[in-house]
Subunit: 110 residues, 2 copies
């Protein structure tokens, strides 16, 4: 469960702009703010089942986008290589202020 | 015109998986293979107008995806910073084989 929440949060970070306003709202209440389905249902005055179905479909959409675009996967590959690069540069004493700064700028582009 | 073709090719590279089979086909004939609308119409046995409308809508979709996800923009920002980093490392004699290799791997993740 924790792993799924974590993955959904990450996918949401990358693809939320492709979701509808309603999808965004439900998913962020559920995964980011940890509301229960019942609480979200009350908040939006719709049935618990409607919330459940909507979130379920959104999860499928997010996985579909990831399958097609792979933004999360590429991000994680990049993170791993940035760490390796940083370790290599540090070990060789190559990580001076300028190099460090450029590397930081690179890492800040998600 | 050349600039637009170039941009459409780049956007197509990033977002083609989000297009329908037909959209992909028309756009790649038009922008990648430089067919005329008339030639594509003949190829698919539909009207020139239908091809035009479809490609026009696809262009709008590609721009919309870029607006929402910014994969091309981020790619270009990254390219620029990779060049800077490489220049800095080269100038300081820090670009040895290992560092070069890790950097190449990083650049190969689009």
């Amino acid at each position: 469960m924790f792993e799924k929440t974590n993955r959904m949060n990450l996918l949401f970070d990358f693809y939320q702009e492709l979701l509808t306003t309603k999808q965004k709202a439900y998913v962020s209440f559920y995964y980011l703010d940890d509301y229960s389905l019942g609480e979200i249902a009350e908040e939006f005055e719709v049935s618990r089942q409607a919330i459940y179905d909507n979130i379920k479909r959104t999860e499928e959409s997010l996985e579909k986008y990831e399958e097609k675009l792979g933004m999360l996967k590429k991000y994680q590959q990049r993170e791993k290589l940035f760490s390796e690069l940083e370790a290599q540069l540090t070990k060789k004493n190559f990580l001076d202020e300028q190099v460090k700064d450029t590397l930081e700028q690179l890492k800040n582009i998600d």
